[in-house]
Symmetry: C2
Subunit: 252 residues, 2 copies
DNA sequence: TTAACAAAGTGTAAGAAATACACTAATTAG
DNA sequence: CTAATTAGTGTATTTCTTACACTTTGTTAA
């Protein structure tokens, strides 16, 4: 079974591979997750360009020729949202031939997490508008953006169980209930309050600030913060496993 | 903090994004894992082209302009090794500006698993040679291939704990010891024999064939096969968790 | 001032899973 | 028939996960 692909030989039997330029648009798309007490949100822009002008889509942009992928993702994110220094993870590359109606576009999808309250949204010239959308409303985006979203959301669901990334979405001081709601929003499952608390506290990287929530019309909750240093010391080597079963209450 | 990036506007304020071609080479690289009773191996080719002519490197190749990424990865794999219909997973895209001395090359890394004994290696014109290398010997590859290898190997380590992919590396009939050695090779940890067997058998997707190993100079082991159907029925929804602690024997 | 409301906070028993650990059984080779 | 080699097996202990409901603390409004 010897290899005799003409294509292969045509493409490769040259000393300089750069005789063959791959002409296409190369982009990054970002899924930017935010959280606002109750709902997990995604930052979308209203496109100001064809194709799909006026539709809500993922904020993405071209990669420059002399720019690393991660740099491009960070730059695009910063340009479109003003957000810098965030956790940014490459998830998957989408390159189907037909994914863009104007030609071949290959895009590397990244996701990041930001505190909604830390940033004001700024609209760049390529977009008409930028806004947070509840994750339940993001179906029907142009291109294969729905698929990209699902891939990134699934990655987030995986990562939340091994890495302390949830705290990126909350204010520096937060209550355990806020944290639980965040986990529930990401995992799309209700969790048992006592089990959640037992587990998360047993990990020993939350610090009880001995402060109370203010301005709520009920018993105020204690505030906690995430101790990055302690996390590193305890889990840098091994990682952790956050596994709390979804509630199955009321099965009598 | 309004967005005023010149670059952004230059690149984007045109109705057709394809005024801007991204000129670069676009490739896929494959990490092909194999296993031969004792060692986990990776399939490398000896490059027949500059740069790095004569060095062992990952088998990779150009993506055609009208070809999906997955298709390209499968084609390249088939062309270079004759292997078809394998589990193929996209791992990560590498696109550092300086990763190829001749210019910008962006590569999507895939890994796959094959049974070494099922395939004979065939050398294509772009390579001088193709051969299996023990994973301990693959350091020092050209480009950023070491980094690509590590990324794929880590992904494999993750996946082996959630998916029944190990069986792709073994003959259809195998012994539990072979399977354990495979897990140990991938995880780079010794496992306790009894715990390993208890766990893997409790998953209930191995079928005892009531046959014995032949041609060994010791007590022959029973042969098992993997039951894909049963696996699907039991785990399709939820996935599984294979977690067997590494042996910590002799801590007296 | 007090009653109604809302969410915070808390403990335990039962079951499941993970771990540590060492000897006997079956076969071949010499 | 003995030595060598690997296969095969069970249990007690510990750790983790799960299920589950009432009391506490504060605010608001009558």
């Amino acid at each position: 079974m010897d290899i005799k692909s003409k294509n292969l030989e045509t493409k490769h039997n040259k000393n300089n591979a750069f005789d063959n330029f791959f002409k296409s648009a190369f982009t990054v798309d970002n899924i930017i997750f935010g959280f606002d007490e109750a709902d997990l949100k995604v930052l979308l822009i209203k496109r100001g360009e064809v194709p799909y002008e006026n539709q809500w889509a993922l904020p993405g942009n071209f990669v420059y020729q002399d720019e690393d992928l991660n740099t491009a993702a960070k730059r695009v994110l910063a340009e479109l949202t003003g957000v810098k220094n965030v956790h940014l993870e490459q998830v998957k590359t989408f390159g189907s031939v037909g994914r863009h109606p104007f030609g071949r576009v290959i895009t590397v999808a990244y996701y990041s997490l930001i505190k909604i309250s830390d940033y004001h949204l700024h609209v760049s010239s390529i977009a008409q508008e930028a806004a947070w959308h509840s994750i339940s409303e993001v179906k029907g985006m142009p291109f294969d953006h729905d698929e990209i979203f699902v891939a990134c959301f699934n990655r987030l669901k995986l990562n939340i169980k091994r890495q302390p990334i949830g705290f990126e979405l909350l204010p520096p001081k937060f209550t355990l209930t806020q944290l639980q709601h965040l986990y529930e929003a990401i995992l799309e499952e209700k969790l048992d309050k006592r089990n959640f608390r037992k587990k998360i506290l047993s990990m020993d990287f939350l610090i009880d600030l001995d402060e109370l929530q203010e301005g709520v019309a009920h018993r105020p909750a204690k505030l906690f913060k995430f101790d990055k240093e302690r996390y590193r010391r305890l889990y840098e080597e091994e990682g952790f496993h956050f596994d709390v079963a979804p509630t199955k209450h009321k099965k009598k």
